[in-house]
Each structure stands twice: as structure tokens, then as C-alpha cells.
């Protein structure tokens, strides 16, 4: 056998691989301005009607569908397809449509077309059928005033009606055809989708806000952030929306990469069992909150860049509703003093304080689904031990944890929720801490808070509602029926050529006509 050199074999292998790659590679893309974005979630079907289920979230982000009203980056209501919205009475809302808006098939968006789109929500068997949104909007009738004006009449007073119209499922769509299965109004036209994998769009030249700068936009689902980061390095994607936090922190430290970061309204919090068990003792509950170092939790679980310590249930970026006068502090010394003063001490010297003669061992559960939950649980356990409280932690299932909390089998449930998915401040407290809240499994009941929430829902002016919800936030911080920990910060990284990208605090919008890739 001839004695070939190592260089010979290296060159032969390289040439073989290159030849194979050349043969196997797809033809070079013809489109000039194309952007490929890696996101953690993909479409749920091959033709996902934005009105059905949760499809609207992706089509809204992809710029295919639009709603009448949107949520701005300051979480306030913003005109979108509607330029005017007026409350005529407790049950009537006048909506004035924007001039010059066209559907992707070139037809004009009229009041009649909007009415038909909303009627499809309740039409059983229609791809846009959405019983959940029908209930949320509670529309009794839609009256056409003229070609550009409608009056929505609700079955009951609903102060959150305009906020519900920002829900991505409330998209204005026209029935599709085989050639154009989804006919929306956004800056991008739906081209095709593959379930859980990819969502492909092309630019819509007649968009009311101006022709988009991109010819084509592809959103690929890559659930593993590490793989998405490698795809960015390989040049296969231009932007990764959810970049791994430790890698982001490294890039930040080194001053490298095109970095984007924005606090979102997603809150990580503990829900305690306050009706019975050890945490029905308010002093102990306050000590738990004081003993949790939120900055360290963020630093340890999200490399210091993936979250912001919470001062209440809403982030500072939610300017229209946040109560900026309240805070949640880390003060272990104060926690220790409070416990000592209340007689919750470690009398047997085993390192764990006792309540009513029994060691305090808090049972804390969380669930898989959000990467930061497990490390947050583990760090919380250590922090509680430092103030003399035992903690037994485990990962479970969200629904099962709730049932266990309700039954008093566990003491705390660590969770992560979007606190204002439609921008309205009522959703989170009414669901979690109101006496009749559907997810109030803590046993918390405060007539004062219930009355405030009822009042908030009956008011129609944001100016009047703001002090009500500010008080709600203050009561929650005082009574701690939920213990806010941190607000998630979304971190994205581009390839250095991405222009016009901004992270929305409700993670509702992404593609805009300004989104571009530098040549």
C-alpha cells in the first residue's frame, strides 16, 4: 500500500466533502433581501388562520395579520387598522377604520369586511372559529355606520373591550383561496408554513404603512437556544429572538455581537397557600419575601441579563399601569428580626425554626417549560435556609401543583405568567388573587381587593382606572398572595446586519415595514 502523507488524506477528505456539499446544497437563494429569524415556537398547522386558537400570536409577529387596535411599546393602546376608537356608552364602542388599507389580495378593508371577519369567530366549522375570543369580546351586534365606521355593541358592560381587541386572534382577515390561503392586511403576505418548523412570508408592496424593506421573511422554529445560537454563527439565520442568556452575557461583556434586550411583562412569582399551613402566618410570609434576593436569582439563573428584579406584579416598562411607588426589598436581617420577634425561633438548635412546635419545612413545587424555573427553585431553597426556614423542592406539573396547593399539600408554587397579555391590568389580579379568581388556589380572600377589582372593571377611562390598579398592586405587595420575583427580559442577537428590530414587552409584535437586513 502506498505511503500517503497526512496532507494528502486531509486534502482528499476536504475535496470530497466540498464536492458533496456542492452537489447537495440547494440553489443559491434568488431573493435579494431575505431575513431568517430563529424563534422558539413555530406554527401549529400548515395554514394557521390567525383568528383560531393561538395562531394569531405568530402571524401577528410575522406581520401577516393585524388587529384594529394594538399595544404600543409603552403598553398603551395604539391605533392600528382603526384610527379612532370611542366609548359611546357602557356597551357601545365606535371604531373608525384607517383610510387606504388593503387586504393582501388587493381589495379594500371596509367596515363590512371587518364585520364579516369578526362574525367568522363564532361560525362553527370555519377555520377562524374561536369560542374563547367570542366570550372575551362578548359582542352582541356590529352595526355599520358607513364604509369606514362600525359600532360594536357588547352583551354586557366590558371596560376591557378595547384591550381585548388587541388580542392577536382579533385579526381582520378575509376568506382565503387555494392560491392565497391567508388574506391579511399586514406588511407581509403568508406564503407557506410547516407545523412547528417554519413560517414563510413575502413583502406586501401595497401595505398602508409603506412597502416593507424586506422581500422575504422566514421564521424558523428552533426550540433549543444553543442550536439557534450555532445557526446564527453558521450564518444560517440572521437573528435569534431568544438567545441563551449566558452566551448573551458573554457577548455583552466582550462588547461583541448585535445585541437586543427588553424587559417583558412575563413575571416569575411564588404563589403561597395562605388559607392554612405555615404561610397563613403573615409574619412568616413577609419573612419569605424579605429573604429572597431577587438580584442574585436573576444573576444566577439568567446570567444577570435575562430578567429584572420585581418590585411588584408589573414591570417598570408597563408605564401606563405600573405603581412606581412600591417595591420589594431583600433584607434578611429584617426577616430574622421579624421571625425572632414573632417567636418563630429555632428552639431545638437543628437549624430550622419552628412554628407551633413544628419545624418549618416549606414544600415548594414548580414545573418544566420555562428554563429559569428549576434554578430559581433551587436558589430559593438555599436563600430560605439562610433565614432558618427548611424548604423541600420538587418539579411537578402545573395543573397538579395547583391542585396540591389548593389542597394544602404544598406551601408554594413557583410559576411564570404573562401578567398583561392584552395590556389590560385586570387579567392577572382578577385571575390569581380575587376571591373568585379561577386560579386563586392560595385561599386568599380580601373584600377590599375584590371591591377594587370590581370597580376597576366598571370604569372606562384609563385615568380613572390607573389609581385603582395602583392600589391593587400595593395591596398585593402588602398581603403577598403572590410573591413577585422577577420580570423576564428577552434577549436577542442579530448578525450585525439587522435593522429596524425591537423587542416588544408583550412579545406580541416583531415584523414591521422597517425591519431590514443591511446589504
Amino acid at each position: 500500500m502506498p505511503n500517503y502523507s497526512r496532507a494528502f488524506w486531509t486534502k482528499t477528505l476536504a475535496a470530497t466533502c466540498l464536492a458533496a456539499a456542492a452537489l447537495l446544497s440547494p440553489a443559491a437563494a434568488e431573493t435579494k433581501l431575505e431575513m431568517v429569524i430563529a424563534a422558539p415556537f413555530g406554527p401549529k398547522s400548515s395554514i394557521p388562520d390567525p383568528r383560531a386558537r393561538q395562531n394569531g400570536w405568530l402571524s401577528n409577529r410575522a406581520g401577516v395579520s393585524e388587529t384594529l387596535i394594538g399595544i404600543g411599546y409603552d403598553m398603551t393602546l395604539q391605533p392600528r387598522l382603526a384610527t379612532g376608537f370611542e366609548n359611546l356608552s357602557e356597551r357601545e364602542w365606535k371604531i373608525t377604520l384607517r383610510e387606504g388599507v388593503k387586504f393582501h389580495d388587493g381589495s379594500a378593508v371596509t367596515a363590512q369586511a371587518v364585520k364579516e371577519s369578526f362574525e367568522k369567530l363564532s361560525e362553527e366549522g370555519h377555520p377562524g372559529n374561536n369560542p374563547r375570543l367570542v366570550k372575551l369580546l362578548n359582542i352582541e351586534s356590529i352595526e355599520l355606520v358607513d364604509d369606514k365606521t362600525l359600532v360594536f355593541r357588547t352583551s354586557a358592560p366590558n371596560s376591557a373591550f378595547l384591550w381585548s381587541l388587541t388580542e392577536p386572534s382579533a385579526a381582520v382577515m378575509k376568506d382565503g383561496t387555494d392560491a392565497m390561503p391567508l388574506v391579511g392586511t399586514g406588511p407581509f403576505v403568508f406564503e407557506n408554513a410547516e407545523t412547528d418548523k417554519t413560517y414563510v412570508t413575502t413583502g406586501f408592496a401595497d401595505y398602508w404603512g409603506g412597502a416593507p424593506k424586506l422581500d422575504r421573511l422566514v421564521i424558523d422554529a428552533i426550540s433549543d437556544p444553543s442550536v439557534a445560537a450555532l445557526a446564527l454563527q453558521a450564518g444560517d439565520v440572521d437573528l435569534v429572538t431568544n438567545y441563551p442568556e449566558p452566551d448573551f452575557a458573554k457577548l455583552l461583556e466582550e462588547g461583541k455581537g448585535q445585541l437586543f434586550s427588553e424587559a417583558t411583562a412575563r413575571l416569575f412569582f411564588l404563589q403561597p397557600r395562605v388559607n392554612d399551613g405555615p404561610l397563613s402566618n403573615q409574619t412568616l410570609l413577609n419573612a419569605v419575601s424579605l429573604g429572597l434576593d431577587r438580584d442574585t436569582i436573576v444573576a444566577a439563573t439568567l446570567a444577570g441579563v435575562g430578567g429584572q428584579s420585581a418590585n411588584g406584579i408589573f414591570p417598570a416598562s408597563m408605564k401606563s399601569w405600573v405603581n412606581g411607588d412600591i417595591s420589594l426589598s431583600y433584607d434578611p436581617a429584617k426577616a430574622l428580626a421579624m421571625l425572632d420577634e414573632a417567636g418563630i425561633t429555632d428552639s431545638d438548635g437543628n437549624g430550622i425554626r419552628e412554628l407551633n412546635g413544628e419545624d418549618i419545612v416549606l414544600k415548594i413545587r414548580s414545573y418544566e417549560g420555562r428554563a429559569a424555573l428549576r434554578p430559581t427553585l433551587e436558589i430559593s431553597q438555599i436563600m430560605l435556609q439562610q433565614i432558618g426556614l427548611g424548604a423541600e423542592i420538587a418539579m411537578g406539573e402545573f395543573g397538579a401543583n395547583n391542585e396540591a396547593l389548593k389542597a394544602g399539600e404544598i406551601d408554594l408554587h413557583l410559576q411564570a405568567w404573562g401578567t398583561a397579555p392584552q395590556g389590560d391590568p385586570d387579567y392577572f389580579p382578577s385571575t390569581l388573587v380575587a376571591t373568585d379568581g379561577s386560579y386563586n388556589v392560595s385561599g386568599y380572600s380580601n373584600p377590599e381587593l375584590d371591591a377594587l377589582l370590581k370597580k376597576g372593571r366598571s370604569l372606562f377611562s384609563s385615568e380613572e382606572r390607573k389609581p385603582v390598579y395602583a392600589e391593587v398592586q400595593a395591596i398585593i405587595n402588602r398581603d403577598l398572595p403572590v410573591i413577585p420575583l422577577f420580570h423576564k427580559t428577552q434577549v436577542s442577537v442579530g448578525n450585525g446586519k439587522v435593522e429596524g428590530y425591537r423587542i416588544h414587552p408583550a412579545e406580541t409584535y416583531l415584523a414591521s415595514p422597517e425591519l431590514a437586513i443591511a446589504e
Binding site: K44, S45, A52, S223, L230, F398, A400, G418, S438
Partner: protein, 315 residues
């Protein structure tokens, strides 16, 4: 064929057991199934109004007793109706068919590649026992067995996609997209099969008939390729079949690593979104595929080895 037919009643019993276990696990999985359905339909939301949950309970007969629910589900399965995916409201069967091709392509390509290398390495090792070739084959198979697919996949992406830029780092669609995932799985097949084939071949090479053949003056090459390999293939068939069945499951990690379409990523996505009809169907499919492939391998082995067939029939 006769052998395979004789195994059918047992196979049906196994499948019935699998269906019952699958349904029971799903039925007793923690949490409210109505919430699981709601979560699959609205993955970005975490809280659902009680009216919606009640409507879902009625729609999916969730308040009926266990046995009634099982019979209702199994009856539909026997009629070929596997239900609708909670997440997309499309037929579970259609989604499965849409993803089957990618996984089978990946598995067969990996099996082909892995077996080719394994045969080469094992043959070299057996024909040159105790030499560096033998040691290299053993070492390579040990490294392959110890290296997790996820890790190897990331290394291949880093080397061939990030640094060299020869192949795409993720996705599906072109033959180029298949190269790195197939190499990842093939490495595992190579590792597993090299060790087994080497040992089967060595066992066959040490049989007394080999010495007889040598005494008859038959060349070493002929002995190896016509006789040793043939004997080694009898046990190897079963092991190859087991590896193929395992490849279908191994595809889960590889498909996730390379963000590929396929049954693996479909199963992982369905588990995460708690899409129970999809999960139950896929668990059933993987179990059935495993049982059927193994039964076929046993039948093939029995057909090629009368001793095994006789023994099996006695059992």
C-alpha cells in the same frame, strides 16, 4: 411466514397491553386533562376560564368512567380514528404521515452508513486480530458508544456548519440538510454494530468447520466472505433490527438538535404542549414498530437458522 403468523396472537396481546398501558398512563398523568387540552390549544396562555374547561370536558367525555373512556378511545383506534391533535385540531394520522418520511429517511440513511462502516471495521478487526486495526476498531466503537448524540450533533454543527460552512446547521428540505443528522446517528450505529459484528464474526471464525475448510485448501478470503460472514449474520440480523427500532427513538434527540421535521421532534413537541392524542399515538407507534421489527427479525433469523426455529417452536 408460517413462523410469523404463529406469533400473531401473541403480538395482538402485546399490542392490546400497550394500548391499555398507554391509555392508563395518559389517564392518570398528573393535572387536569381539560387544562392539558386548553394548554395545547392556547400554548402561550396559562390560565383558562372555568366555562372553557367545562366545555372541553364535555367535548372529550372526560367525566365518563375510566373503562368507558378507554373503550371509547380504543374503539376509535380500531376503526383507524386516532383523533384530532389538541394543538392543531387536525387529524393525528395526517400529522403522523406528514412526519413519517423524514424520520424513516434519516433512520435508513443512518443505518446504511453506520452498518457500512461497522462491517468494514469489524471485518478488518477479525481478519487482523490483535493488530492496531483491531484495537482501533474497538476503541472507535467504545468512543461512539460513550458519546451522546446531542453532544456529537453539536460538535458536527460547530465543525461542518459554523467553521467550514459546508452543510446547513439545522432544518429539513434538501439532501444537504440530511448529512450532519445522519452522520450523528450513523456514528451510534457504527459503535453499536462494530462491537457486535466483531464478536459474531470472531465466534464464527473460531467454529470447527472453519478449520475443516482451511484443510480443504479454501482461501482465507473465501472462508471469510462465504462462510464466516454468513454465520455471523444469523445473530446479527436481530441486533441490526433492534438497532433500527432504536434508531426511530434515537431520532428524537437528533431531530431536536438539528431542528428537523420528523416523528422525534413531533413527539417532543407534543409532550411539551401536552398534546395527549398525539403523544398516545406516537407512543403506540414506537411500541408497535419495536415489537413488529423485532418479530420480523426473529422470523428472519428462524428462517435462516433451523436450530433457532425448532427451539422457538418448542417454547
Amino acid at each position: 411466514m408460517k413462523y410469523f403468523l404463529s406469533r400473531l396472537p401473541g403480538l395482538a396481546f402485546v399490542l392490546l397491553g400497550i394500548s391499555l398501558i398507554t391509555f392508563t398512563l395518559s389517564y392518570f398523568s398528573p393535572g387536569d386533562r381539560a387544562e392539558a387540552i386548553a394548554h395545547a390549544r392556547y400554548p402561550e396562555e396559562i390560565a383558562f376560564p372555568p366555562e372553557l374547561l367545562q366545555a372541553i370536558r364535555a367535548e372529550f367525555h372526560l367525566e365518563e368512567p375510566f373503562w368507558l373512556q378507554y373503550l371509547y378511545w380504543f374503539g376509535n383506534v380500531l376503526r383507524g380514528d386516532f383523533g384530532l391533535s389538541y394543538a392543531s385540531q387536525t387529524s393525528v394520522w395526517d400529522i403522523f404521515i406528514g412526519n413519517l418520511g423524514e424520520t424513516v429517511t434519516l433512520s435508513l440513511t443512518s443505518l446504511g452508513l453506520g452498518l457500512a462502516v461497522a462491517f468494514l471495521l469489524a471485518s478488518l478487526a477479525v481478519r487482523h486480530p490483535g493488530t492496531w486495526l483491531d484495537r482501533a476498531a474497538v476503541m472507535l466503537s467504545s468512543v461512539g458508544a460513550a458519546m451522546p448524540s446531542y453532544w456529537l450533533g453539536l460538535l458536527l454543527i460547530l465543525g461542518f456548519a459554523v467553521h467550514l460552512g459546508w452543510f446547513p446547521s439545522y432544518g429539513t428540505g434538501t439532501p444537504a440538510h440530511l448529512v450532519l443528522p445522519a452522520l450523528t446517528l450513523a456514528f451510534w450505529v457504527m459503535a453499536s454494530q462494530t462491537r457486535l459484528l466483531r464478536s459474531f464474526m470472531l465466534e464464527a471464525a473460531n467454529q470447527p468447520f472453519v478449520e475443516t475448510l482451511r484443510l480443504r485448501g479454501i482461501s482465507e478470503s473465501e472462508i471469510f466472505f462465504r462462510h464466516v460472514l454468513r454465520h455471523a449474520m444469523v445473530p446479527a440480523v436481530t441486533m441490526i433490527a433492534i438497532d433500527f427500532a432504536s434508531l426511530l427513538e434515537g431520532a428524537i434527540i437528533v431531530e431536536l438538535t438539528f431542528a428537523r421535521s420528523g416523528l422525534g421532534s413531533l413527539l417532543a413537541g407534543s409532550v411539551l404542549s401536552r398534546d395527549l392524542p398525539m403523544v398516545m399515538f406516537l407512543v403506540m407507534f414506537f411500541a408497535v414498530a419495536y415489537v413488529v421489527i423485532n418479530s420480523l427479525a426473529e422470523a428472519l433469523q428462524a428462517a435462516s437458522d433451523p436450530a433457532t426455529r425448532t427451539q422457538e417452536q418448542r417454547v
